[in-house]
């Protein structure tokens, strides 16, 4: 086996419908990666973020999402979070910020992502 480890704990790709597909941990290291992916995307219309494969989020990750939501309101838009799993839902709830987004849960019949939160550890243990 010669697969490499995953040096980035967060990756963001643009999906088939222009949505940002986020994989990994949105933490103090991943937040800035997500930030710049979101600002790049904002020029192209309302931001949709698929968080099915987000395995962890903390307040620095949430700040990236809240910043996007604030900027979207300035444009009379709203940020959509797709396939929201337990981790993301919990943090939104704790901080009372759920209403700042258009949310669809992982189980909703909506544009399907992988549908499951990936274990993106990559740490081999």
């Amino acid at each position: 086996m010669t697969e490499t480890g995953s040096p980035d704990s967060l990756t963001v790709e643009v999906g088939a419908h222009g949505e940002l597909v986020v994989t990994g941990d949105i933490d103090i290291a991943g937040g800035p990666i997500l930030d710049s992916a979101i600002t790049d995307r904002e020029e192209h219309g309302p931001v949709v973020i698929d968080v099915a494969a987000v395995s962890f989020i903390d307040s620095s990750g949430l700040r990236s999402l809240l910043g996007a939501a604030r900027r979207a309101r300035g444009r009379d838009e709203v940020v959509a979070l797709r396939n929201v799993g337990a981790e993301v839902a919990r943090l939104l709830e704790i901080t009372g910020t759920t209403e700042q987004f258009e949310i669809s849960a992982a189980s909703d019949p909506s544009p399907a992502g992988s549908g499951e939160s990936a274990d993106s550890d990559g740490a081999g243990e």
């Binding site: 290291a29 307040s59 704790i94």
Partner: protein
């Protein structure tokens, strides 16, 4: 196996790291490992991971860029993460800390953010509900 000592404790595990954001994940991994050994549930471990992350955020964003000390003190009832970094005049009322504080309130039984001597210090305790 003398995994848990006479006082039902594991550790303490003390970790010193540079204030590198990418090491947040390493500290979550270490904390998860310790909590798992101590028999914490998956949901409790999720809370512990968030607590560890919030401690790191506050110290990395507000510290002076020197090393950060993190300590895990664990027994069969509580998992406490304590963190500190050298810094003078830590403004514990800084609005930037408010979101950290709200999150810690949500996932922890108790927490504190203080200036102690010439260190910024943060601690958070997650409880283990024995069944």
């Amino acid at each position: 196996m003398a995994r848990v000592n006479e006082r039902g404790m594991i550790g303490p595990v003390e970790i010193r790291v540079p204030p590198d954001p990418s090491l947040s994940k390493v500290l979550r991994l270490a904390a998860s490992g310790v909590a798992s050994l101590a028999g914490y549930t998956v949901d409790e471990i999720d809370d512990i991971k968030i607590a560890v992350s919030e401690v790191l955020i506050a110290l990395i964003e507000h510290g002076r860029g020197e090393s950060i000390d993190v300590q895990f003190v664990v027994d069969s009832h509580t998992f406490t993460v304590r963190g500190r970094t050298p810094m003078e005049g830590f403004d514990v009322n800084d609005p930037d800390l408010q979101l950290c504080r709200t999150v810690l309130e949500g996932v922890c039984a108790d927490h504190g953010i203080d200036q102690v001597d010439s260190n910024a210090q943060i601690w958070a305790t997650v409880e283990h509900l024995s069944i």
